[in-house]
């Protein structure tokens, strides 16, 4: 797609998994037949934020953790825009998790793509809250803590579409992204893409070997207890759709916004004059 073009020189390592992510993302956008008018990418700060370097579309980079709030504000104001948050594991599991939870509960119709490279790349590979215990050791003496599961947090927050994909499964990932963007409500797709500098090839292959597609066993993914059961299963890395449910979205609760967006309506001066006059009635 022409709209998404390389802007400036590369800022990622040559073997960075962000490149295959970018390819999948662009493919998804293309298959969705989106024009520039149709969507906005919202990014925080981190390696994933550098994605904007490679995009020639509407985008907004915000400080760490604020992408969910910004995306929510954008969607509230103009629901003709598809709003896609591209976040990192570190970014998601910091200050922003509060807004993530609340936007999920309100079922704001945005899509969150979490580029989980299992580290804080932009902090020179420091462990992130998702770094597996055995690799934290490399950096932090003996503080070895269980990683946080993005899927579990998403489920607990009430997200209405929760999935996991991997850059190593690009067709599947693309499909998950397309479905997520089409989903009417808050959708989250965690993307497993271990940093190729911090993790050696063998480790990355080991992780990849644990992927297991759950789309068949979870073919009716509207069962929350089942989604949790899959999410806590540590014998494998489940990939696919954990949960999806059709719930009323934020907008559907505002009768005045069901059709036209805020920006397309504006506030009529005449109506307001009348309203002000009405207030004077005793």
């Amino acid at each position: 797609m022409d709209e998404l073009n390389l802007n400036s020189g590369p800022s990622w390592c040559g073997s960075c998994p962000n490149y295959p992510f970018l390819t999948s993302f662009k493919e998804a956008i293309e298959k969705l037949h989106f024009f520039v008018k149709d969507f906005v990418c919202v990014m925080g700060v981190g390696n994933s934020a550098q994605l904007s370097h490679y995009l020639d579309c509407n985008f907004i980079n915000v400080p760490p953790g604020q992408a969910f709030s910004a995306a929510t504000g954008i969607r509230m104001a103009n629901h003709d825009l598809n709003v896609i948050v591209i976040s990192g594991d570190g970014d998601l599991l910091s200050t922003g998790i509060n807004s993530f939870i609340h936007s999920a509960r309100k079922n704001i119709n945005i899509t969150v793509l979490v580029q989980n490279n299992l580290v804080l790349c932009s902090s020179q590979g420091y462990p992130s809250p998702t770094t597996p215990v055995e690799f934290q050791n490399k950096f932090q003496n003996c503080n070895l803590f269980e990683p946080v599961s993005i899927i579990k947090i998403a489920l607990a927050s009430g997200a209405s579409y929760v999935a996991r994909g991997a850059v190593a499964r690009s067709d599947h990932l693309e499909e998950l992204i397309i479905k997520g963007i089409k989903h009417k409500g808050f959708s989250v797709i965690e993307i497993i893409q271990p940093c190729s500098q911090v993790f050696d090839f063998g480790t990355i292959m080991e992780i990849t070997d644990q992927f297991q597609n759950i789309d068949d066993e979870n073919s009716e993914p509207d069962n929350l207890p089942k989604a949790y059961a899959i999410a806590v299963d540590k014998t494998r890395i489940p990939i696919g759709l954990f949960f999806r449910s059709i719930q009323s979205t934020f907008r559907s609760k505002f009768p005045l916004m069901i059709d036209d967006s805020l920006i397309s309506q504006g506030i009529s001066r005449k109506k307001l004059d009348a309203y002000f006059q009405k207030l004077l009635k005793p």
Binding site: S8, I60, T72
Partner: protein
């Protein structure tokens, strides 16, 4: 003849003094009086001792006085401090067997309430009794009661009417107080400073309000919610102050105007958003309600203590404008000015409100929407159809880069929290940095030309100059009046635009003044520091108040006279 009467009603939270105050104010307004009513809370929770002071007058009332004409205690507990403030010939109303002695009027409020059906009617009985004292027309409450009790059914309405009448009969025939002829004002609203701001928000075409549901923001949320039933408006009780401003910035990015409301230390959670607004050049308007700090401090009280932090908070350097309205009317006018400046220059604008102004109820004629210049989009419709290339951070000779909105045309809109080139892409290049810093700084120059000069009040040839800002405006004016009545040559300079201040526009007032007095509701004389930084101005006296209570004419005069001794 008296021009105003100050009534203080105190009670324990939960006794409904807010309800009775509202009903009383409405009733007096309907009877044609001017109203000015302030709360003094110790806690927001239903339980603490709170009081409300309602001043009614035959002329416009603009400030609180310490003196009390009628002191009413619903709990029969009277603070010594309050009792001392009752004037000669004043009235103290308590519950008890009917008696009038030494200015103390006891009325069998509870008994009568119970007689009307329930202890709960005590407020309504009292309301009736006060109406009787002022010889108001008891039927004038029919409408307001109807609205107040509509939801609860006709029975409740009737019972309350009856209870009011019973109270009324207790007092209507006696002349406890000097009579106050009403002014017969009409077409007035009873509103708080917060209300004024909300009217201006909607009037400016702003369609989103984001606020963490802090107590002082309740009024903003509630009123904006009412508007949202009839207008395309989203009023969001945000999960945190940080999320509030970033939602606002998100909305603003799309072209929808946005207001964010915070108070006390909540302001600190906004600063990330302010700095972001500075860098991204997405406009945002923020109302900051001040209460005594640091940290949570005394969230129910008032202070003027976020001046310097509003000006200097945020990492790095960026243009911003700060207004501090002094009156209910200015809450309205400065709010729409805030939207205008913010949208025109793509900058953050702060409305620095004080708790006292946010919550004080006053009568005011309905605002005129024609006063408002709604900010224009930077691209006209015609230009939109023609534009072929767009750079979010285009370098122009005003420093303003015209704003396009995502989805408005086929051109993408790229916005960044990192330093960026004119396209909006991240850049760490030294030359690009210099261009963008200079571009942003350029805006400050034009903004300086839009400085709203302070209001001067008093004699042209003054010896003594009082300087103040924000909600103390009318209090200081009153001080000037009182001192002039003592034949002193006094003037006052009252600021509403706090930043930036154009030093050229204020120099003349300070040039030959003998004695300059700074008056502030804080402990460190923040505005004096600012004026020294901006204009090298030195003050002879700082009158500061920082006990959580608002400045009053009496307080200022006491401190002034003490210092002049």
């Amino acid at each position: 003849m008296k021009e105003r009467i100050n009534i203080l009603i105190s009670g324990i939270g939960g006794q409904g003094i807010r309800t009775i105050a509202n009903l009383l104010s409405k009733t007096f307004l309907q009877s044609g009086y001017y109203i000015y009513s302030t709360f003094n809370k110790t806690t927001r929770i239903i339980g603490g001792i709170n009081s409300v002071k309602i001043s009614i007058g035959i002329k416009e009332i603009n400030y609180s006085e310490e003196s009390i004409d009628i002191l009413i205690s619903l709990s029969n507990k009277i603070l010594d401090r309050d009792r001392d403030l009752v004037v000669e010939g004043g009235l103290l109303i308590l519950d008890g067997d009917k008696k009038f002695e030494d200015g103390v009027l006891t009325l069998p409020l509870e008994k009568l309430a119970k007689g009307s059906g329930s202890r709960q009617f005590i407020n309504t009985v009292l309301l009736g009794a006060i109406m009787g004292i002022f010889k108001l027309d008891i039927t004038s409450i029919n409408n307001s009661f109807l609205r107040e009790f509509a939801k609860k059914g006709v029975e409740v309405y009737n019972e309350n009417l009856k209870a009011a009448q019973i109270g009324y009969k207790q007092t209507i025939d006696e002349g406890y107080l000097e009579y106050l002829e009403p002014a017969l004002i009409e077409n007035n609203l009873l509103i708080t400073g917060s209300d004024s701001i909300v009217y201006a928000i909607v009037g400016s075409g702003c369609q989103t309000l984001f606020a963490n549901p802090i107590p002082v923001a309740r009024r903003f949320l509630d009123l904006m919610n009412e508007f949202s039933e009839e207008f395309p408006i989203i009023c969001d009780a945000s999960e945190s102050d940080a999320s509030a401003i970033f939602k606002g910035l998100g909305a603003s990015y799309t072209g929808v105007k946005s207001m964010v409301v915070v108070s006390d230390s909540g302001f600190l959670h906004l600063c990330d958003g302010l700095a972001y607004s500075g860098m991204s050049e997405i406009p945002i308007v923020v109302t900051v309600i001040q209460s005594p700090g640091p940290s949570i401090g005394m969230p129910t009280k008032t202070e003027q203590n976020n001046l310097l932090s509003s000006i200097f908070s945020g990492n790095g350097e960026f243009a911003r404008v700060i207004y501090a309205p002094g009156t209910h009317q200015e809450c309205f006018s400065l709010t729409y000015k805030a939207f205008e400046i913010s949208s025109n220059y793509n900058i953050p604008v702060i409305i620095l409100l004080e708790q006292i102004l946010a919550e004080t109820v006053k009568n005011l004629p309905m605002f005129n929407l024609d006063d408002i210049r709604r900010p224009r989009d930077h691209f006209t419709r015609k230009q939109l159809t023609e534009v072929k290339e767009y750079k979010t951070y285009k370098v122009t000779n005003t420093g303003i880069s015209p704003r396009l909105f995502p989805g408005q045309t086929d051109l993408p809109v790229k916005v960044n929290t990192f330093e960026h080139n004119d396209d909006g892409y991240i850049s760490a290049d030294a030359e690009i940095r210099i261009k963008q810093v200079n571009k942003r700084a350029l805006k400050e120059e034009s903004i300086m030309n839009e400085f709203i000069p302070p209001e001067f009040y008093g004699v042209e040839k003054f010896d003594i100059l009082f300087v103040g800002w924000g909600a103390s405006k009318n209090v200081i004016k009153r001080v000037v009046d009182l001192l002039r009545s003592e034949k002193k040559k006094v003037g006052a300079l009252l600021f509403t635009q706090m930043y930036p201040i154009n030093p050229k526009k204020i120099k003349k007032y300070f040039r030959r003044t003998k004695f300059i007095v700074n008056v502030e509701n804080n402990s460190s004389a923040q505005f004096a520091k600012l004026l020294k930084m901006i204009g090298g101005i030195e003050f002879n006296l700082n009158i500061l108040r920082y006990d959580g209570l608002p400045l009053t004419p009496e307080y200022i005069l006491r401190k002034f006279k003490d210092a002049k001794k």
